[in-house]
């Protein structure tokens, strides 16, 4: 991480970057920002330099953008699973703390109880 350069910013996309010397980044031909992979370069070009791209690059961008969908779907499923885990973890902790560990109506009771407590 010794080689650091400040990319100039023709389109307000200038970011300070530093590339490890042993890596060869994909450099954006329009703003000089080094990208971590060819796929990210295609995405970056489409997002920040759309007006300057030819049809091939635009098509490549659209493919790459749609291609992100698969990864995102898996990711969202994981997040959903995590949310469910968090939700049930809280449900169980609350029912344990409210000293009625086996009642599934605890959540509802808790809400009603809190509401009355608030009043």
């Amino acid at each position: 991480m010794t080689d650091s350069n400040l990319t100039d910013s023709p389109d307000e996309t200038g970011y300070e970057t530093s590339v490890p010397p042993e890596e060869s980044p994909a450099e954006c031909p329009y703003c000089g920002r080094p990208l971590e992979s060819e796929r990210l370069l295609v995405l970056h070009e489409g997002l920040d330099h759309w007006e300057r791209l030819d049809d091939d690059r635009r098509e490549a961008f659209q493919e790459a953008y749609v291609g992100e969908g698969d990864d995102l779907r898996t990711f969202r499923l994981k997040m959903l699973a995590l949310l469910v885990v968090v939700y049930f973890a809280f449900l169980f902790v609350y029912s344990y703390v409210m000293e009625d560990p086996f009642s599934s109506t605890n959540a509802a009771l808790l809400l009603v109880g809190c509401w009355r407590g608030v009043r």
Binding site: S18, R76, V86, V93, L111
Partner: protein, 460 residues
């Protein structure tokens, strides 16, 4: 077509889940967190109350990560309405009025009644200005440039226009902010009108001298901590007055713009805003009193306890933020430097500070506003027993809701900023992991402070 309906359903789902999460946490927390006076009646143990708060912020990050449509995020952040508003002529009037108000505050501070609840200077500064006016800055818009009495005076006078050393950057305002908060915490600034008037006179002298020497733009743009706090808070607000006129945007949308925070000194200032609001609450907890007494008992002079805790805590907050930025560089697997990441995401901390401020001061403002009104009608001889509104119990729950709302807006702003910065959408979400962990820890800390019983800070 199928894609778009699926997206709508997903959004509806995410929206419902978010509302449910807020409602669930809101009711659970309202019970636990009714500010200090109510803390004794908590039926949920504190650790669970804090965990729930942290859980809400974490869950809101998970929900925000479901929004992966760039067009949608841009549409939300680019939404704006502009109305031409010829307000420029009005500025002279508002500035003249606020100079008069400043002179009035100092005069009443020196010469008015000594009871703080009857003295208009104390009430105007703390209730009217620091609690009420500051809230309008982040809820409505930054009107301070049109009011700033010191700026008005220096604009009317010839200035020396000395060169401001650029390498100092925003650091003088960081030091100034910490110094002001130190003064506020250790001195009876809210109880002693004479002292308050002296401090305002001193601040005015320093500010006027500095602004006359370096020119008002330099001084209020770089050095003056108050103007900088308002400028940053104003970015949270939906309204902005610019060249086009009055511009309306979604709250927080302006925070996702690049170049708002330009350098490490400005990152430090944003973190300082967050830290001083936290410190202000922290010194009022019994744990702080115990800690301070133990430290002084061990032989440390009482005078150094507050300033060193202030600086140490600020260092800790800065370290936590920069550590998150460093890890973010790894989780996002990016070539951006740590500094570039830290600068880009610093503005997303501002809604947290605003939410915390509102939680702290809305109740204070509402309960003391009748006293302010009666002191203002007759500053030299206000009624003997000013009336004070007693707030209902549920108001403490509202405070917790503000803290959480600030965090939710922060999570969203950071999400939108990440989508602007990183070309890969998963990369953008991954960049947020370390920040979310820090944010969850911070939520739990601030909820702990908000719910702790009140204690008098010792040695002040």
């Amino acid at each position: 077509m199928r894609r778009s309906t699926a997206r709508k359903r997903l959004l509806a789902l995410a929206g419902t889940a978010l509302v449910a999460a807020i409602a669930f946490a809101g009711t659970a927390l309202a019970h636990g967190g009714s500010l200090r006076t109510e803390a004794g009646s908590m039926s949920v143990p504190t650790w669970l109350f804090l965990l729930t708060g942290g859980g809400v912020v974490g869950a809101s990050f998970l929900l925000a990560s479901f929004v992966t449509d760039r067009a949608l995020i841009r549409a939300i952040h680019d939404w704006r309405r502009v109305a031409s508003a010829p307000l420029a002529g009005l500025t002279t009037v508002t500035q003249a009025l606020s100079v008069l108000a400043l002179v009035g505050v100092v005069a009443v501070g020196f010469d008015g009644p000594t009871d703080p609840l009857r003295n208009a200077a104390v009430l105007v500064v703390w209730v009217g200005w620091w609690a009420g006016y500051v809230a309008t800055v982040y809820l409505v818009g930054n009107t301070w440039p049109a009011l700033n009495p010191w700026r008005a005076v220096t604009q009317w006078l010839p200035t020396l226009d000395r060169n401001y050393p650029d390498k100092l950057g925003a650091w003088p305002s960081v030091v100034g902010l910490l110094a002001l908060i130190w003064l506020e915490v250790v001195s009876p600034l809210a109880d002693d009108p004479r002292l308050l008037a002296t401090v305002i006179a001193g601040y005015s002298a320093v500010t006027l001298a500095g602004a006359l020497a370096f020119g008002p733009d330099r001084w209020f743009g770089h050095v003056d901590p108050v103007a900088r706090v308002f400028r940053y808070y104003g970015r949270v607000a939906p309204l902005r007055y610019g060249d086009d006129g009055l511009e309306l945007r979604p709250p927080g949308a302006a925070l996702a713009e690049p170049k708002l925070v330009d350098d490490a000194d400005e990152v430090a200032f944003v973190v300082a805003i967050l830290w001083v609001t936290t410190f202000d609450g922290l010194v009022g907890t019994p744990q702080w009193a115990e800690f301070a007494e133990a430290v002084v008992g061990a032989g440390v002079p009482a005078v150094v306890v507050y300033p060193s805790a202030l600086v140490a805590g600020f260092g800790l907050f800065l370290w936590a933020y920069w550590t998150a930025a460093r890890y973010s560089r790894q989780t996002a697997d990016t070539y951006l430097t740590v500094g570039a990441i830290a600068r880009r995401f610093a503005p997303s901390l501002l809604p947290i500070a605003a939410g915390y401020h509102l939680a702290h001061f809305l109740g204070y403002f509402l309960s003391l506003s009748p006293a302010l009104a009666s002191a203002l009608t007759n500053p030299w001889n206000p009624p003997i027993n000013p009336s004070v509104i007693v707030l209902p119990d549920w108001f403490g729950g509202l405070a917790v809701a503000f803290v959480l709302l600030g965090h939710l807006l922060a999570v969203w702003v950071a999400h939108a900023s990440a989508y602007e910065v990183f070309p890969g959408r998963l990369q953008a979400v991954r960049s947020q992991y370390p920040f979310v962990i820090v944010m969850v820890l911070y939520t739990m800390t601030s909820l702990w402070i908000v719910s702790a019983p009140s204690a008098e800070p010792p040695f002040v």
